[in-house]
């Protein structure tokens, strides 16, 4: 494949960022928005073309004669050579998962660009907003097509920075500023683990290259045999630390705290970055390194356990939030945890790593329906000017388009056939059950909770009781409705894509067989969840309040997200800030600097002590001189004698 089109996929958003960033202030809002959207549209077309070429052209670059999909490096430009072996290249790797992401990212990004034309209309800094969106799209695309782990790290940092800029878009609001800061620092902390992981891995394998690492892990890791690092095997450390980076970006426990706060950013940004694309980077990372993870079973188990705990935690918390975007944020955490669990449960002996395929499938469908839900939430917020659903209710009468699309999104995430989420979630459950019944039951429970909390939100917003609206809410303009409708359609049909034909471990084609037992269980659980939500929240009543009162402590704890933020605040402010930084600053001023000043003071004092010898009176000098001369004479005489 020619390198021009892939290069353009990266170059256009970057160019658009530079153009809008440097010249944006001279442009009108409309021009900047249209330029950004057109640029993204072009990228959309080009990346669809690339992905379709990859999947359907039958080009021997991309598919072997036996029908195995290959990893193909379109271009790879050396960027920075640390040593002859360790070279960071900037390149473009095309394989099933990156081709899939080439569909997901431009699609969602384009929808968000289009949607923002209406949503952000008239906001101060509109041009800046589009510049940042372009920067983000560039970084995210660069991340997924990375040919080596360091390129991924580079773009990993760049998406972090663009996420920081976009969360803090309303920079005059202190809450947005602190949320953006928190997001950056928490992910930075995770990236520290990622970086150290990369360093360990690259030291032993002497390569950054994904293909070298993943095509034959056994050979690549021959040098690590028996090598230990701080008590553990090197490879285990490396893979767990690299996964830490993924935990940060993908908001896994205990590094999840930034994601709910990140909802301070504009809603379309939440849809793009904090629901569909950037937060799945962690999943993508594990998938990208999957053969390496397979070589270290402990690290996969670690992924599974972290994912499973996070999934349950986030689902419980989501049931008690009153900010609609926070509910969606926790639901995102929970769904990403599903993908993690699925990867953690993938083993070659169980349906040839079904979990890998299921995880990518869920990533794909989740991106679509979660973006839909967020954009729908944006439409709601736009209509009633509040994030709290206590200010909403009965909106199905006023906003039919939003109502239907949101409902589709909820059905999809709840896992009701034939909507997209059902198919992918079912595959995940099959994969997990085949690995371990315990975790299978666990995840089924979480799936039920998912249905419950999503429909809780749905009923509370669109049914329940109608509060007094200052002005009548209504559906949004076409730029906002069209993306909703498109995404809703995709959410309906995406599950029917024969995903196993395209994205599987090692590229073999895989026919999805429905496991109707698991599917039946998950449907039943989801329906039960929806029914409970309906009973509680369809019409106004005091059953929810009674339920919350009956176990008040649990409700309060969940409402406060089990006090994770408070714990972090305690650690950062009380321990690190007051316990480390301040003492160090004090130590520096008083002890270190005090010692230096002490030298000066001692010198100074000593000088003052002997200065009186220099009285300035000539007679004193003469006297001292005489005494000295006499002494000298005496000594001389003594010596001569």
């Amino acid at each position: 494949m020619d390198f021009i089109i892939p290069l353009l996929i990266l170059a256009i958003p970057l160019g658009m960022f530079l153009l809008l960033g440097l010249a944006g202030m001279k442009m009108s809002h409309k021009l900047a928005g249209v330029l950004g959207t057109l640029g993204m549209g072009t990228v959309l077309v080009l990346s669809y073309f690339t992905a379709f070429t990859y999947f359907f052209s039958g080009n021997p670059e991309f598919i072997s004669e036996a029908g195995v999909r290959l990893q193909s490096v379109i271009f790879n430009q050396e960027w920075l050579a640390f040593t002859p072996n360790l070279v960071i290249s900037l390149g473009f790797l095309l394989d099933p998962i990156s081709a899939m992401m080439l569909i997901v990212i431009p699609t969602i990004s384009f929808m968000v660009h289009l949607y923002s034309l209406g949503y952000m209309h008239g906001e101060k800094g509109f041009q800046r907003y589009y510049a940042f969106l372009s920067l983000f799209s560039f970084s995210m695309l660069g991340l997924v097509v990375a040919t080596n782990i360091f390129q991924m790290y580079i773009f990993w940092e760049l998406v972090g920075a663009s996420s920081y800029l976009l969360i803090g878009f309303f920079y005059t609001l202190p809450s947005a500023v602190s949320a953006s800061k928190k997001a950056f620092i928490v992910t930075r902390f995770a990236d520290l683990g990622f970086l150290i992981g990369i360093l360990i891995l690259s030291y032993y394998t002497q390569t950054f290259d994904f293909i070298t690492l993943t095509s034959d892990p056994g050979a690549a890791f021959a040098s690590t045999a028996g090598a230990t690092f701080m008590g553990g095997s090197v490879l285990t450390w490396a893979m767990v630390l690299i996964f830490t980076g993924g935990m940060g970006k993908s908001a896994m426990m205990p590094l999840h705290i930034w994601l709910p706060d990140a909802m301070e950013g504009p809603t379309p940004v939440s849809a793009l970055i904090h629901a569909a694309t950037m937060v799945v980077a962690g999943v993508y990372l594990v998938a990208r390194m999957f053969p390496v993870y397979l070589a270290v079973p402990f690290s996969l188990d670690f992924v599974l356990v972290v994912g499973a705990i996070t999934a349950l935690y986030a689902a419980i918390v989501a049931c008690t939030q009153i900010d609609i975007k926070r509910v969606l944020a926790f639901s995102t955490i929970s769904q990403i945890a599903f993908m993690m669990v699925s990867l953690g449960a993938a083993r070659p002996e169980f349906h040839e790593c079904l979990g890998y395929m299921a995880s990518m499938f869920h990533l794909f469908t989740h991106a679509m329906f979660k973006a839909l839900l967020f954009l729908g939430a944006g439409a709601l917020i736009h209509a009633v000017h509040s994030n709290n659903y206590t200010q909403m209710g009965g909106l199905h009468k006023y906003m039919p388009i939003t109502n239907i699309t949101f409902l589709i999104g909820c059905l999809a995430i709840a896992g009701i056939p034939p909507f997209a989420g059902f198919w992918s979630k079912d595959e995940i459950l099959v994969a997990v059950y085949s690995y371990s019944t315990f975790w299978g039951v666990w995840m089924t429970l979480v799936a039920g909770l998912t249905a419950f909390y999503m429909f809780r939100v749905y009923f509370l917003v669109f049914w329940w009781n109608e509060p007094e609206y200052h002005h009548r809410p209504h559906d949004s303009e076409w730029t906002m409705s069209v993306p909703l409708i498109i995404l809703a359609c995709v959410s309906v049909v995406a599950g029917l894509i024969p995903f196993g034909k395209f994205v599987t471990w090692q590229g073999h084609e895989y026919i999805i067989h429905m496991n109707w037992v698991v599917a039946g269980i998950s449907i039943v659980v989801a329906v039960i969840g929806i029914i409970i939500a309906g009973v509680l929240y369809l019409r106004e009543n005091d059953r929810p309040k009674c339920m919350a009162d009956s176990c008040r402590w649990l409700w309060t704890a969940a409402h406060h997200r089990f006090y994770w933020d408070e714990i972090y605040l305690f650690i950062t402010h009380k321990i690190i800030f007051n316990g480390i930084c301040r003492p160090i600053a004090w130590f520096d001023r008083r002890i270190i600097d005090g010692t230096m000043d002490g030298f000066a003071i001692v010198t100074n004092k000593a000088s003052y002590a002997i200065r009186n010898l220099q009285s300035g009176r000539v007679q004193n000098y003469v006297l001292v001189y005489l005494i000295g001369a006499l002494l000298l004479a005496v000594i001389t005489a003594w010596c001569l004698a």
Binding site: I88, F150, G168, T172, L192, L195, C581, I584, I592, A600
Partner: protein, 497 residues
């Protein structure tokens, strides 16, 4: 003598001094300062191109353009010059910062003429230092670069300037005392020659003497490189210094320390460096984290930046002590990167201080709404400092970390990981400042009437940002320029394993 291109790096500043002495008004002064520093920049870029050409044509000596003129034959003192990729990188850095510093002091008050005279004298020392390969002339230029600092801070500074100027000068002089001792020892032990290349190639200093002389020279230069615990001149000095002086000091003078540590201490005494590096690794490793933690609680912008410099310069020395090609290349990259971005920081702080008349971050806020241009530049500088890919900090730090990780023993691993932690702490203090200073609501209503950057301020900041981005986007060019000196072949020439 004048057939050697390098000598013009000293001649041009001297001509500038003469020109400045004849100036009658501020316009002429500015013209001389800008023209001179542009000439220096052009000269250094020309040198770079010519150097690359020579290397491409197959020149394999450690240093090119070497030349030597006898100066004081009785003691064997020569004016010996020569450069390699590192020196050229440093010369370009100095020229860029002198240029931007001249723009940043466009409206210096009072006595602009004297200010520029001292500033140019200081840069004479800097340029002379980087082209010298004779230890004695090197030391002389080093002192020429240090002394004007006293007057520049004492006269044109702000705040507690007498104290700071005195402290800075005395501490650096204290370092010079160690250094002098070390250099004289090297002269006598290294075969009665001051010539660096000869000393390095003969590698004749006895190991026992190396063990004594290495710490002397390393500490001597390390004081200027803000090595813990000799860094305390840096916060006070920078806080009191006028903008251009802070820029030159943090941007270039602190690099003299790192450059000297490598060029003199390690270059001439590789065995002792290997043997004793662990002591200084501990100290510099502490510097890295300690500076970053200290920066987290400061409220004065310049203090924050000074402590951040302690952290970043600590990383330079840390990497130099790793004694392998990759880490040492990273160290020089970090010197370039830190020089540029810290100059950018100090320029911006100076511009902001010139408007708000305070540097206390608790008394400012929401500057993004008032002076968007300066604020955006500040964010870019911050991003460079916390290591955003595409800007210079990232490539330098990553090279250092990858290089440091080549040591597989627990001691080096521990300190490398400790140093890696600084990327998180850096993010904390940078974002803290950005959040408090630039974002949020406007803190002080008097600030609302302030204006954004003037053209000369824009010129200064844009030049620096372009350089920072150039290093960040095309690191391989700079790294290959530097790496030649650290290649195993040259190591072999200078007696390193």
């Amino acid at each position: 003598m004048f057939s050697n291109i390098l000598i013009y790096f000293v001649v041009i500043p001297l001509l500038m001094l003469g020109g400045l002495a004849l100036c009658r008004n501020i316009k002429q002064i500015r013209a001389v300062a800008v023209a001179g520093s542009l000439a220096l920049l052009a000269l250094s870029v020309y040198l770079l191109v010519d150097y690359l050409g020579l290397r491409a044509a197959g020149a394999t000596e450690p240093m090119l353009y070497t030349d030597s003129w006898s100066w004081f034959p009785t003691l064997g003192i020569n004016l010996a010059v020569g450069v390699d990729g590192i020196s050229i990188a440093m010369l370009i850095l100095s020229a860029v910062i002198l240029l931007t510093g001249s723009f940043a002091s466009w409206k210096i008050n009072p006595c602009p003429k004297d200010f520029f005279l001292w500033l140019v004298l200081l840069s004479t020392g800097v340029f002379g230092f980087f082209i010298s390969i004779d230890l004695f002339t090197m030391f002389m230029f080093y002192e020429v670069a240090l002394i004007p600092m006293y007057l520049l801070i004492g006269v044109w500074g702000s705040g507690n300037k007498n104290y700071s100027a005195m402290k800075l000068t005395l501490m650096l002089m204290g370092g010079s005392a160690f250094l002098m001792l070390g250099l004289i020892g090297i002269y006598y032990q290294g075969g009665h020659t001051w010539n660096l290349l000869q000393i390095a190639q003969s590698n004749s200093i006895a190991p026992d003497w190396q063990r004594f002389l290495f710490p002397m020279t390393f500490v001597g230069f390390g004081v200027l490189g803000a090595m813990f615990p000799f860094h305390t001149w840096s916060p006070d000095g920078h806080a009191s210094a006028p903008t251009a002086v802070s820029m030159l000091h943090a941007g270039v003078l602190m690099k003299l320390g790192g450059y000297g540590c490598f060029r003199v201490a390690i270059y001439t005494m590789p065995q002792a460096a290997e043997e004793l590096s662990w002591i200084f690794l501990i100290l510099t490793g502490i510097s890295v984290v300690y500076g970053a933690f200290s920066a987290c609680v400061q409220t004065d912008l310049k203090y924050i930046n000074a402590y951040s410099s302690v952290s970043h310069c600590g990383l330079v020395l840390f990497a130099i002590l790793m004694l392998n090609t990759t880490a040492m290349t990273g160290a020089i990259m970090q010197m370039l990167s830190h020089g540029l971005m810290t100059a950018l920081f100090f320029a911006l702080i100076g511009f902001i201080y010139g408007r708000t008349h305070t540097r206390d971050i608790t008394k400012m806020g929401g500057l993004m709404q008032i002076m968007p241009y300066l604020s955006v530049c500040y964010v870019i500088a911050g991003m460079a400092s916390l290591g955003l890919p595409g800007l210079s900090g990232f490539v330098a730090e990553m090279t250092i970390f990858v290089g440091s990780f080549e040591h597989a023993d627990t001691f080096h691993r521990f300190f490398t990981i400790l140093a890696c932690c600084s990327i998180v702490i850096t993010a904390v203090y940078i974002l803290r400042v950005v959040g408090k200073l630039l974002f949020g609501p406007v803190q002080d209503d008097h600030h609302r009437s302030l204006t954004d950057a003037e053209w000369w301020e824009r010129t200064s900041t844009i030049t620096l940002i372009v350089c920072v981005a150039a290093i960040g986007c095309f690191p391989n060019f700079f790294e290959s320029l530097i790496r030649y000196t650290f290649s195993p072949e040259i190591f072999a020439v200078i007696g390193m394993n």
